[in-house]
């Protein structure tokens, strides 16, 4: 990956994070922690990977993206706005009455959202259906889906994995945002969830483990997933919840809380200075 490409990705990821902060601050509610942890992945997917056209968001031949951990909607809305699916200005309307940016993604109200999600464990099944549909059509459409690590405590996820593997959905690539925190605390303490890569492997997946904040690792893993024939891929990303905002990192209290004015200014200043450095 060349320097300009890397710079572009870092810059978009930083802008996504600023959008997350601004929208959640404006809404006075929402989920910043798990939105910030997937900002780098979304920057990579939308800038480098997904065949999706903001001018034609309903194109049947577009690649699909399903945010199974739908509470990270602020990150999805932010990347969609930056890619031109709608105006950046709209991010301020998040969670407000009448807004098309609902608290959790709504495919019928927001351009660029491919599946309505929010109830954990369900997006991944829909992603399987999309991948199967694409295979039936021989369309070459690829399906990407992001799961939270807390989310995979849902039994439905494992039903979906069995299905994806059984039907050889090699056009399906799952990401697990392994930030190790869920609302009630550390994933390991809340539910004893461990050995995530081994579990996916046991379900027949091509599994890769990466640092979810390292663009070169993301690129490498996504390319390997694309070259994989006959079985679906899962990329388990070690991430930091709240990544990019010093006081939010690895702090579970930012799972579902909005910053106050002072906190918002501090976070914004941190991200602005990173952006200024990248674009200076």
């Amino acid at each position: 990956m060349d320097i300009d490409c890397l710079k572009g990705l870092k810059s978009l990821a930083c802008k996504i994070r600023i959008g997350v902060l601004e929208s959640v601050y404006g809404a006075k509610s929402g989920h910043p922690g798990g939105s910030l942890s997937i900002a780098d992945l979304l920057a990579y997917l939308y800038l480098k990977e997904l065949r999706a056209n903001p001018k034609n968001p309903e194109d049947p031949n577009r690649d699909r993206f399903v945010l199974s951990k739908g509470h990270a909607a602020p990150a999805l809305y932010s990347v969609l706005a930056h890619m031109g699916f709608f105006q950046l200005e709209n991010l301020k309307s998040l969670r407000k009455m009448g807004a098309f940016l609902q608290g959790h993604p709504n495919m019928n109200s927001t351009p660029g959202v491919d599946m309505s999600t929010g109830s954990l464990g369900q997006g991944v099944s829909a992603a399987c259906g999309m991948a199967l549909g694409a295979k039936l059509d021989g369309s070459g459409v690829r399906v990407y889906c992001v799961l939270g690590d807390g989310e995979i405590e849902e039994g439905q996820v494992w039903e979906a994995l069995m299905f994806a593997s059984h039907y050889n959905l090699d056009n399906l690539c799952l990401f697990v945002d392994n930030n190790q925190l869920q609302i009630d605390g550390w994933v390991q303490e809340v539910a004893g969830l461990s050995k995530i890569p081994e579990k996916f492997e046991a379900f027949g997946f091509n599994v890769m483990q990466i640092d979810g904040h390292d663009f070169e690792q993301i690129e490498h893993a996504v390319n390997l997933a694309k070259s994989q024939k006959g079985r679906p891929s899962a990329i388990v990303m070690k991430t930091i919840k709240g990544k990019g905002v010093s006081y939010m990192e690895n702090n579970v209290s930012w799972h579902g809380a909005a910053p106050n004015e002072e906190q918002f200014k501090l976070a914004k200043a941190e991200l602005d200075s990173i952006l200024a450095e990248l674009e200076g």
């Binding site: 991944v124 099944s125 549909g133 299905f163 039907y167």
Partner: protein, 313 residues
């Protein structure tokens, strides 16, 4: 074609799928290890490449159906009513109905007439669950010809549809040549001026027989078949409320949340009249033969007749 005299609506469902799929390549069918029972295997035998067994995982099956619908397919997903409408309720609500996706959900072995399997498999709450969800159409056909027409209508309708299927072979009441199915429209099977019996699904035939028994007592009973519980044909119900002295609803479903309460809502709001709900009285079923159970829960013509006579006093 010879007239079908008796057939389980699940079998009519499977046949209908195989028939309409010949003219509509978008139709795909998903089952969760009950293809032999829900009769989707009839489709599978005709279109193996468009049939997907999901294994015993109804929640995932419904989500896969949602995903397929976003790709332009028309998925029919099938299981027992207990497991599609029951276990999969939240998936149906959030992954299918909220995004208004074109998924058809079949609930087979509905009601107590499942028989010997007993209460765990006798779903008497599916209509209540499904009709409470926005965007959902709820169909409950009563015989072979109605089911075949309903499946075609469901496929033509854009949006989520729940179709209730029965295990027990039921006698045909509709005419093969003349029957026309219109989603959302009730059917007056027999006119009457004293009381009205509004029935849905399996006990429609019993309701017709009941009206014959009432004739001997000089009671003229109108019989209406409601195959579409949602959207409900308000007009036919209000007409009955205006023209007859009271309404009896009959369903192989809990009296809570089903056809009876749907009729009550319409009548209460627009033309208050006495409505007596006949169904499963807020209790669980049990093992037994379908016919013994229908008699025990007073959903055969004898039981319905007794209840009506009792209430009329």
């Amino acid at each position: 074609m010879s007239k079908i005299l008796k057939k389980a609506t699940r079998e009519s469902f499977g046949e209908a799928l195989a028939e309409i799929a010949r003219f509509n390549e978008k139709i795909v069918v998903l089952d969760s290890d009950l293809a032999a029972a829900t009769k989707t295997k009839i489709f599978k035998e005709a279109f193996a490449d468009r049939f997907f067994n999901c294994g015993i995982s109804e929640c995932n099956m419904i989500g896969v159906g949602a995903g397929l619908a976003t790709m332009g397919k028309i998925p029919f997903v099938a299981s027992f009513a207990m497991f599609s409408a029951g276990r999969g309720f939240e998936q149906i609500r959030n992954s299918v109905a909220y995004p208004n996706l074109n998924v058809k959900i079949a609930g087979s072995h509905a009601g107590i007439s499942v028989g010997e399997d007993g209460a765990t498999h006798q779903c008497c709450e599916d209509i209540a669950l499904m009709r409470s969800i926005p965007n959902m159409v709820v169909l409950n056909p009563c015989d072979h010809y109605e089911m075949k027409a309903a499946v075609k209508s469901a496929a033509d309708h854009k949006g989520p549809v729940y179709i209730r299927l029965g295990r027990l072979a039921v006698e045909t009441i509709n005419d093969q040549e003349t029957y026309k199915f219109e989603m959302g429209k009730g059917v007056t099977l027999k006119d009457g001026k004293d009381i009205t019996i509004i029935a849905t699904g399996l006990p429609v035939r019993a309701a017709l027989l009941t009206s014959k028994l009432l004739e001997n007592d000089k009671i003229s009973a109108r019989v209406i078949n409601i195959h579409t519980i949602k959207p409900l044909d308000r007009e036919i119900i209000l007409k009955a409320a205006a023209e007859t002295s009271q309404i009896f609803t009959v369903e192989e479903h809990s009296i809570i949340g089903g056809l009876g309460e749907a009729v009550c809502s319409v009548v209460c709001e627009k033309f208050p009249k006495r409505v007596q709900r006949i169904g499963i009285n807020d209790r669980f079923g049990q093992s037994g033969s379908a016919h013994d159970l229908l008699a025990h829960y007073k959903l055969d013509s004898k039981g319905i007749y007794e209840t009506i006579k009792n209430k009329l006093g």
